[in-house]
Amino acid sequence: MLFNSYTFIFFFLPVAFLGYFLLNYNKKVEGAKVWLVASSLFFYSWWNVIYLPLILLSVLLNYKLSRVLIEDEEGSLFTKKQYFVVGLVLNISLLVYFKYMDFFITNVNFISGENFELWHLALPLAISFFTLQQIAFLVDSYEGLVKEKNFLDYSLFVTFFPQLIAGPIVHHQEMMPQFSRLKNKLFNYKNIAAGVFIFSIGLFKKVVIADSFSKWVHHGFDHSQTLTLIEGWVTSLAYTFQIYFDFSGYTDMAIGAALLFNIKLPQNFNSPYKATGIIDYWQRWHMTLTIFITTYVYTPILRSFSKITFFKAMFATFAAMFISGLWHGAGWTFIVWGSLHGFALMINHYWHKSKRKMSIFLAWFITFNFVNITGIFFRAENLSQAKDILQAMFTGNIMLPIQLESRLVQLKTYGVTFGSLMGTSRDFALATILIVISFFISLVLKNSNEKIEDFKPSFLVLLLIVPMFIYSIYNMQDVSEFLYFNF
């Protein structure tokens, strides 16, 4: 079930919410948790019930393994370390099996000249996210930081529907105390108001902004071979803003939905396009993933060396970013994207180390353009499509809107042509306007997280949020999935 669907907003969310607090109100604390887990599994199964056994199996296996990891070793057949390694291998294998088999077979076929058949397995929803979350949990159990002895609580930790599909990636330590706090089992009007507020902002970001860009992004990428210079830039910028408003909109909705249950999910975005360096960018974009990768990938790699040097740290940085690229998708485009970001991080670190300075504007300009250009690889179906768009952006023909022809006709002598861009003149005008507005929103305005920090319910807020909500609902007819559901 999508957050941006009538079923979710007008049926699932109110029912799950009322059921949870009614059960708590009647002192059925365990019952309320069962209700929330059951609701979450219903939410998950709405897409495709055949993957329900898979997530249940994954939850059960990881719970069993963690129990072994936190109990005394005596009388056990294997050491804790062996169980821990088995746990890691199981989680990663499950992900590899569903996500990377076809990519692997394609490459084997390419290298060997054989023709092994592809498996065409559909990617089970949320597998990339619940795998990461549970790996972190196993590591924390192994290192003695968490001791979960209640299967219901553990199921709630993994399946809690606001964060189940695409994060924010949460840690057991930050979630479970919130669920057990007595105060959180009671209606909290302030949290409800704040939750509805941020949910509405997220819905607007997704339905009104991101989904408008979606059309032009599709058009641009589908016509990658015939794009002119300006169209190339409009297409890539449209995607850069689409993915931001899509994913941060989703995250706002997740944070808002969780707040209704008095649960505070971690911040995932902090105005990433204000970043003035690529290190800065990764501290602002998909922050819970950056923290996960830094903690559980980068650090272990670096710690495996006996002495930490700058060179080894750079190796670990690149390796972590490479793995992050592959995690996002099974394809060479994602590997190129991850590697480019890995290189950029290395350059940024070297720059810091040598204590050079740069003007803020130039730093922002380089960072934003780097993110925009690498984003093409992130979106493209294959490398040649990415190359087409890059070619359009840097060596494409210059075509201006046909309306300017009478005034700028002399430019024709320099090879400039006139025509309708992005399919129709109207689309081009709208896309350009929305790009300008998006620059303003993401560079000048406070982000939703800052807004929630100093949130106070007032009539002014109500006057702002109600029209936004209604307009979003009105625009929700063509339900569209979130980009990050494919990862």
Binding site: A136, V139, D140, E143, G144, L145, V146, H171, Q173, I279, Q283, I291, T294, T295, Y296, Y298, T299, P300, L302, R303, I308, F310, A313, T317, H349, H352
Partner: protein, 78 residues
């Protein structure tokens, strides 16, 4: 406690290469521009060596806060 803080301060001065750097329990990674993931690991390793302790991976994120760092060191080294 202040003993731990002084030692951490020395480690910070060494890693950030700033002789005048002064930290307090309220200092966080947001206050020191150079305190990124790379320097964070360097700080952690230096503390681990100094106190002959080892931090769990899941503890590293919370330690981007000097107060939390001092707390964890005092728990682990006692």
């Amino acid at each position: 406690m202040s003993n731990i803080k002084d030692k951490i301060q020395e480690i910070f001065r060494d890693i950030f290469d700033e002789e005048e750097l002064v930290i307090s329990e309220e200092t966080t990674a947001d206050d020191i521009e150079e305190w990124d993931s790379l320097n964070h690991i360097n700080i952690i390793s230096a503390i681990e060596k100094e106190y002959k302790i080892k931090f769990a991976l899941g503890e590293l994120q919370a330690m981007k806060d000097v107060g939390e760092m001092i707390h964890l060191i005092s728990v682990k080294s006692s």
